[in-house]
Subunit: 181 residues, 2 copies
DNA sequence: TCAGGTACTGACCGATCGGTCAGGCATGCT
DNA sequence: AGCATGCCTGACCGATCGGTCAGTACCTGA
């Protein structure tokens, strides 16, 4: 089974993304990933220090975009913040839907790992922006429904093009976030 | 550590609910549950045939209510179906928020087990009702955002009373499901 | 020609998983 | 007194987990 392919690193990353999306992070073993690529489990751990490092590398691009959105958010308040947050997050969710989908509810668990501690804070600021920086429970509830709903949904529509998914998600987000009279 | 408590069954159920809600189904071991109650792992498996049976018994009341909603859904179409589905699902989510929360994204995995196969079909009919029985992608996207958003959100507000959470969730659901002009 | 790095393997490790099993200890019926 | 039953235990099982390690085949530059 010895096959000298230097692109293995990228192949492993892609295989991990596929497996994580189906069976989740905890539900996928290094064996599973190795089998999909056709190499040994030891080869996986040659390319990545450990399982968490694999996940970290997989999520890095998405996290970078999330942090850019966070930075952009700082300059806005109220309804403007809502619109920037909705547009930015929908765009992120659509572009990285595969990466987001693979965390399928393991978010709470994974975010507690030190490697993702910062993401935790960023998403709290995102919810705050979705809520228009309001403390009203109704606003915070709506914010969380939109955030979680989009995150869970985007991964279910892997087959339709970005240009169709993006406006549909944005429309439902903006409707849901409309202020209660 | 021998303590003859015949209420152990109920205690185990409650402990399992608590642990599942924090670390998820896969992330919680029978040891964890046993430790929380103060008995042995073998005692857990004396009361429940296996881990899945424990989960099944834990979810049974919520599933019964879900199936009742499904039956009620059959008599409605279009906007009426949307309203019945939204009201019914929000009520279910609020009442059983702890049970729903503990499945944290493990839904896709768990629903594939034969014991929950029926729930899969019911939730597809629910999404269909949310979408007003429309085939338009935008309608189906909105439906999934609402369903997933509510399911994920309700478990995050364990401390506020039903009477406050219910109308807030219903309001955001109805706003999000408003037909696009 | 050969040293050294890259990419990998199979064997192995301790821990933990869900689950089994024989037995023990109260309690209550006969 | 004897025996069944309900409830529970500690010891144990095979499987699988993430991770380590010594060794090896191959390529490259000196």
């Amino acid at each position: 089974m010895a096959r000298p392919t230097p692109e293995t690193h990228a192949e492993l990353l892609a295989a991990a993304a596929r497996r994580f999306a189906v069976t989740g992070y905890k539900g996928t073993s290094l064996q599973d990933i190795a089998r999909e690529v056709g190499c040994s489990k030891a080869a996986v751990l040659y390319h990545f220090a450990n399982k968490e490092a694999l996940l970290r590398e997989l999520m890095a691009p998405a996290i970078a975009v999330l942090e850019a959105l966070d930075a952009r958010l700082a300059g806005h308040t109220g309804a403007a913040a809502q619109r920037v947050a909705a547009e930015g997050f929908v765009d992120l969710a659509v572009r990285f839907r595969r990466e987001i989908a693979l965390l399928r509810g393991e978010f709470p668990d994974l975010l507690q790992q030190p490697a993702f501690a910062h993401v935790q804070q960023v998403s709290e600021r995102l919810i705050d922006a979705f809520a228009g920086h309001s403390d009203r429970p109704a606003a915070r509830i709506a914010a969380l429904v939109v955030l979680a709903g989009i995150a869970e949904t985007c991964g279910e529509f892997l087959d339709i093009p970005d240009e169709e998914l993006r406006p549909a998600l944005l429309a439902v987000a903006l409707r849901a976030l409309e202020p209660t009279t």
